[in-house]
């Protein structure tokens, strides 16, 4: 992979065109192609060449290989926020706040919380907040109604109550085979981005995991989330079996809820059985929770690599790509949301979303989302949490207090090194 990228990268640049890599899923390729064509028509003297990120096990690995081989594109649009700090520290990203017009643009696009989130500890900003997929709770409307509820569960007590009612041994063999929800039981670090982390953000109104190079999650919110999840597994409301290797268990009615993002809509609409109605609501929160409910938004951002020969020109393209019109196009083509303020009130977006209540739910949630903390080594942080999560939540070998204390101890050691 390294060799092929080393040999192939530079040949992509024709006539001093800038090179832009997008994600390689079909919708994003279509979006990128349209945006680049528009740009090139309007700017024939500042053309951009587009290509999807080369195929590999993950786009993260490909980008890493390109960085090592010094064959990075000039602009990349699918950088996970949690990776940016590692690349910034390695000195391969352009500090965008040094470019003309960047700060005005950023303040017009994002609120202060987002700007704080993307500002590195060194005070520079290396990424443009681009798109998000907020994690929400998908629920089966028919089943919620069958259980006697008007609305889906909003807090832990309601969730546990509904779970108790829904859990069933359908074939009478003495084993539960219908659970209220499911979350992947694998210990792989990024799985915690779809259960523990959004629940923690929801419980704590967006509190950080890491602060001042120290673990900040060993608090009452972290403990509440671990206790809640542990109860779900202990009482068999969530399956310990890997249901993800079967057919879609939500659409098959084996589970009634799922923590997921807007990408689920097109899949569910395509494959759902006749009559199945579903909706989205915020993540469950502790019973005494006050205020709006936040969630994790899986942010993917735009970056400019230092291999770019003209960062200011690349920035002009990035600005164009993240214009209001192109953000609308992003929603239309990819079913993903741009990370910009007033999404749920701006007439341009509201006019499009008003007939799509499921997407509108995500747009409303977009006001209360959080990405990752601007620290390096987040993969390891999530892996440490995941190890303790498995021991405590899934197998009940530790109390939530013990598990989080141990995780915090290990994370603190990590940042001491």
């Amino acid at each position: 992979m390294l060799l092929s990228l080393s040999c192939g990268g530079k040949s992509e640049r024709n006539n001093n065109n800038l090179v832009y890599w997008s994600s390689n899923n079909q919708q994003e390729i279509e979006f990128a192609r349209e945006v680049v064509n528009d740009w090139n028509k309007k700017n024939p003297d500042k053309k951009v060449t587009f290509q999807p990120v080369p195929e590999g096990q993950s786009s993260e690995e490909i980008i890493l290989a390109a960085v090592v081989g010094k064959t990075t594109p000039d602009i990349y649009s699918n950088m996970w926020e949690g990776d940016v700090e590692d690349y910034a520290k390695a000195g391969v990203l352009v500090a965008l706040d040094t470019l003309k017009g960047f700060k005005d643009f950023l303040y017009s696009r994002c609120d202060s919380a987002v700007i704080k989130e993307v500002t590195s500890p060194d005070g520079h900003i290396y990424q443009v907040p681009w798109k998000i997929n907020p994690i929400m709770m998908m629920y089966n409307k028919n089943e919620i109604k069958n259980l006697g509820y008007e609305n889906p569960p909003q807090d832990y007590s309601q969730f546990l109550d509904a779970s108790k009612k829904f859990k069933k041994d359908l074939n009478g063999d003495g084993y539960v085979d219908q659970w209220f929800g499911y979350s992947e039981v694998l210990v792989t670090w990024w799985q915690r981005l779809f259960d523990f982390y959004p629940l923690y953000i929801a419980a704590s109104n967006g509190a950080p995991l890491i602060e001042n190079n120290k673990a900040a999650f060993d608090n009452k919110y972290g403990i509440e989330v671990f206790k809640f999840l542990q109860t779900l597994y202990q009482k068999n409301y969530f399956a310990k079996e890997r249901l993800s290797v079967r057919q879609d268990v939500f659409l098959a009615g084996i589970i009634a809820t799922r923590f997921t993002g807007p990408w689920e809509i097109s899949h569910a609409d395509k494959f759902k059985p006749a009559g199945l109605e579903y909706g989205f609501t915020h993540m469950p929160v502790p019973d005494d929770h006050k205020g709006p409910v936040y969630t994790y938004c899986d942010p993917k951002n735009l970056v400019i690599f230092k291999t770019c020969p003209d960062a200011q020109r690349a920035w002009d393209f990035v600005k164009f790509m993240t214009s209001k019109q192109n953000d609308l196009k992003l929603i239309e083509i990819t079913n993903q949301l741009p990370r910009r303020k007033n999404l749920e009130t701006d007439p341009l977006f509201v006019n499009y979303l008003k007939d799509k209540p499921k997407m509108m739910a995500f747009a409303n949630q977009a006001k209360y989302v959080k990405g990752t903390d601007p620290y390096s080594n987040l993969t390891e942080v999530f892996d440490i949490i995941s190890q303790e999560y498995e021991a405590c939540v899934i197998y009940g070998k530790k109390t939530p207090e013990e598990a989080l204390k141990e995780a915090a101890k290990q994370v603190n050691l990590l940042y001491l090194k």
Partner: protein
């Protein structure tokens, strides 16, 4: 010349580079930092590594005897003049050439707690279900069983070759003395195929030490790290966390360990012969 080029580029350089790496901290994207013996000190204090090594040894302890017993039994059967012998020989070899990832995905379905075939069979005859991949005490034996199924065809072939080298007149003489089938097996077959058994032990030790695909795909090293093999841990250090220096240190230590085990086995074989 092409061989020398290949040797230096793909063998000598990576080996030397890995050894150099063991004295450094390197996350691929930032410059290397010299850390002296820090990686080696960390290795001896890293509970996860020792756990992964222990898991690998548990796997070997189950996998090697099981492999030998099953392969030898099947080879003995397939060495007889039975119907469809050619078909059975080919059928047992088939899993060897099927991709490891495909096999693990297939077995993941078979091991499913609720819908898996094995648990359906168990419950249909009145037994309780087993958490093949979700119970920490069952997960590694389950992987060992699957690995045995996957590789047994190769060892059947080796044993068949060994069995066919045993002179037929030994058995004829034993029969004249009134030996039964078991006596012939333990007093003629086993001693005569000893070299093959040792070869199978060495080959399955080496392949067993490199256990990776099965836990990577099926369990991710869980539950509770019970299937975290040494190679999977080395991979995670290298390609999840980009601790290239530490990963190289673990790799070097592990390679030396395999070398030592195989050297001991070789010494033992030479002594036996």
């Amino acid at each position: 010349m092409p061989y020398m080029l290949h040797f230096f580029l793909f063998i000598a350089f990576p080996v030397v580079f890995s050894i150099v790496l063991t004295f450094h901290k390197w996350n691929i994207i930032a410059p290397m930092q010299y850390t002296g013996l820090a990686n080696y000190i960390h290795l001896f204090n890293d509970a996860f590594f020792w756990k992964s090594l222990g898991n690998t040894l548990i796997f070997l302890a189950i996998h090697i005897p099981l492999q030998i017993i099953v392969a030898l039994f099947l080879a003995e059967v397939l060495n007889q003049k039975i119907k469809f012998r050619g078909f059975f020989r080919a059928a047992f070899f088939l899993p060897v050439i099927v991709s490891g990832v495909v096999v693990t995905i297939l077995w993941q379905q078979l091991y499913g707690f609720d819908t898996g075939l094995f648990n359906r069979i168990l419950t249909s005859v009145g037994f309780s279900k087993i958490g093949w991949l979700t119970d920490p005490s069952w997960a590694m034996p389950s992987i060992a069983i699957m690995a045995t199924w996957k590789n047994v065809g190769l060892y059947i072939i080796l044993f068949l070759v060994g069995l066919q080298t045993v002179p037929a007149h030994y058995y004829e003489a034993a029969e004249l003395e009134g030996a039964n089938h078991m006596q012939k097996f333990f007093n003629i077959t086993l001693p005569m195929i000893n070299p093959t058994i040792f070869m199978v032990v060495i080959l399955s030790t080496i392949s067993g030490f490199s256990l990776f695909i099965e836990p990577y795909v099926m369990t991710g090293g869980g539950p509770l790290n019970s299937t975290l093999s040494a190679v999977l841990y080395i991979y995670k250090q290298g390609f999840f966390y980009y601790h290239m220096g530490y990963s190289a240190t673990l790799g070097l230590f592990f390679a030396l360990l395999i070398l030592a085990v195989v050297a001991i086995q070789k010494k033992f074989i030479e002594k036996e012969q």
